[in-house]
């Protein structure tokens, strides 16, 4: 095992995927000599050359469109979208071409494209640099959507995404790029759990917190704090938000009967809404309380000085836990 930051784990994952399959090419803005604005592609140009590590013009639709052409030709393109808020110019290519070509051609043309997106807030960035656009892609049939939360998953899931014959939108929580963890660099994908499998990160009995990405850290902090009050919270990292591993989710909900779903993205028609609707369909008779969402507000991503009021934090998660446990909370007031 090796201690790596999440960013270095992604770099190692890209390197391994490129070593394992010479059809893997990576492309994006500033990914060559600079190594990407977050240095995720650092050193890859020197190792693999300009034919496989491709600096691109500043045109996201053109980048993804070029990846589509490369996929037609039998390549496995890995695209870096520089920031979450820059993906929208590529939205038409992703939704109209990447997601649909396998279906349109009745399986004759595969789109093994991985679209990496440095994602979400908490780094004090300017507009367009802190967004959580995952629900758009979750809603689109034909795409798989992964959101990692730690170096080990980052290394493994990125390699799995690249090896997948389906297109994968791969969200990287940029505020965790420098978080460290143990990674087994020699781990074989053949023995690895499937990319879409959720993980019970912390076991508990009183309620289940379901989350993904950087919010996992906050949820685990909340679970630790709740333990001090005698509460036992289970925490699930979805890892894949399309499709969602409802077997793991439902098994937990059937034990705890109480659910909080947390994410940074805004609320309306978000991932939490879908997860709670699916839990309700599958486990209604096990629920002891209405599930509760803890999300970003339905506002454009606010300026840096305001983002702490937008991002769900430990206290907002604990307030939601109080709600599902019928304890005094922000809606009932302290006296309840």
């Amino acid at each position: 095992m090796t201690q790596l930051t999440l960013g270095k784990a992604l770099n190692a994952g890209l390197r391994k995927a490129m070593q394992d399959d010479d059809k893997v090419v990576i492309m994006g803005e500033d990914i060559g000599k600079l190594g990407g604005v977050f240095r995720i592609t650092d050193g890859l140009l020197d190792e693999f050359g300009a034919a496989r590590v491709i600096d691109t013009p500043l045109a996201e639709s053109g980048i993804v469109g070029t990846a589509v052409g490369l996929a037609y030709r039998g390549y496995r393109p890995v695209v870096e979208i520089q920031f979450d808020g820059f993906v929208y110019p590529a939205f038409d290519q992703i939704v109209s071409q990447v997601a649909k070509l396998h279906y349109r051609t009745q399986g004759r043309v595969k789109m093994p494209i991985t679209i990496r997106i440095p994602w979400a807030g908490g780094i004090g960035a300017a507009e367009h640099h802190s967004e959580s656009p995952e629900a758009y892609f979750v809603h689109t049939a034909g795409l798989r959507v992964i959101a990692v939360s730690n170096p080990e998953d980052a290394y493994r899931c990125l390699r799995q995404a690249i090896a997948s014959d389906d297109p994968v939108i791969f969200f990287e929580p940029k505020r965790l790029y420098h978080h460290k963890g143990e990674v087994d660099l020699d781990a074989s994908l053949a023995d690895a759990p499937p990319m879409g499998l959720a993980r019970v990160v912390r076991e508990g009995t009183d309620a289940t917190i379901i989350t993904y990405g950087a919010m996992l850290t906050t949820a685990l902090d909340a679970a630790s704090a709740a333990e001090d009050e005698g509460l036992s919270l289970e925490v699930i990292d979805l890892r894949s938000i399309s499709p969602v591993d409802y077997d793991t989710v439902a098994a937990s909900v059937r034990r705890t009967g109480r659910v909080v779903v947390a994410h940074e993205a805004s609320r309306e028609a978000g991932v939490a809404a879908e997860v709670i609707a699916s839990i309700t369909e599958r486990c209604f008779e096990y629920l002891e309380a209405a599930p509760v969402r803890v999300t970003g507000h339905d506002v454009p991503y606010p300026p840096a000085k305001l983002e702490k009021f937008h991002l769900p934090d430990l206290d907002r998660i604990l307030d939601a836990v109080d709600r599902v446990l019928d304890r005094p909370n922000s809606l009932t007031g302290a006296e309840s």
Binding site: A51, I54, T56, P57, A59, S61, G62, G65, T66, G69, L70, Y72, R73, G74, Y75, P89, D92, Q93, H102, Y103, T105, Q106, G107, K110, P112, A141, G142, R144, S164, D165, D166, G196, S242, P243, V244, D245, Y246, D247
Partner: protein, 215 residues
């Protein structure tokens, strides 16, 4: 770009209309093809109309004139002249194959019919325009050219027409004869690999359909 990396001799040819040239993607494609000197031939079929929008709304300048601004040599050709189109395409393919990067052809023609069966060009087109283009039919022109050369006779022309009619008949019959696949086929090929979400929806829909069989 794959062709270029492999040093293969193929060329990627992309066809689009005058309307599409206003799209950002067409312009981004020209930027990428030029930047990477990729062997791409852009063929714009300018038929003067994008449903009811005239080409002047898409471009106030000959469309072929845009390509040089991207660093792509271009040629404007009479799209109703079969031999001119063939020569232009040969030039473009040779250019792309020789490693000089992309080339652009604008073939100028005319949309004789409506855009679709629900379109009504009489609402937006001058009938005189249509009449003037009727005299420039590319098939009639190539026929009269070959006759002039003495390369073709009535019998060959009749045979060509018969072949074309037969092909059209067969295509219509095939279209009309297309069968609707079984309902669960709607779920096929959404993904290349197993997907628990789609599998569940397929199972639920299959169970729903089964209730009709039992009834």
């Amino acid at each position: 770009m794959g062709i270029k990396h492999e040093k293969a001799s193929e060329v990627a040819v992309t066809y689009f209309g005058d309307g599409a040239t206003s799209q950002g993607d067409v312009n981004e494609a020209m930027v990428f093809a030029a930047s990477y000197q990729a062997p791409v031939v852009f063929v714009c079929q300018n038929n003067h109309w994008a449903i009811s929008e005239p080409v002047a709304l898409q471009s106030q300048y000959p469309i072929s004139g845009r390509a040089p601004g991207f660093g792509i040599p271009s040629m404007r050709v009479d799209g109703n002249d079969v031999l001119a189109c063939m020569a232009a395409m040969r030039w473009a393919l040779d250019h792309a194959r020789s490693g000089k990067g992309p080339a652009f052809i604008e073939a100028v023609t005319y949309r004789m019919g409506p855009h679709t069966t629900s379109d009504d060009p009489t609402r937006y087109r001058d009938p005189a325009e249509l009449e003037s283009w009727k005299t420039r039919d590319p098939i009639a022109r190539v026929e009269s050219f070959l006759r002039g050369l003495g390369e073709i006779d009535d019998e060959q022309i009749a045979a060509a027409h018969a072949d074309a009619d037969k092909l059209a008949r067969e295509m219509r019959a095939e279209c009309l004869g297309m069968v609707t696949r079984e309902p669960l086929a709607v779920f096929d090929n959404v993904y290349a690999e197993p997907h628990c979400g789609i599998d569940r929806q397929r199972d639920e829909y299959a169970a729903y359909l089964a209730t009709f069989e039992e009834a």
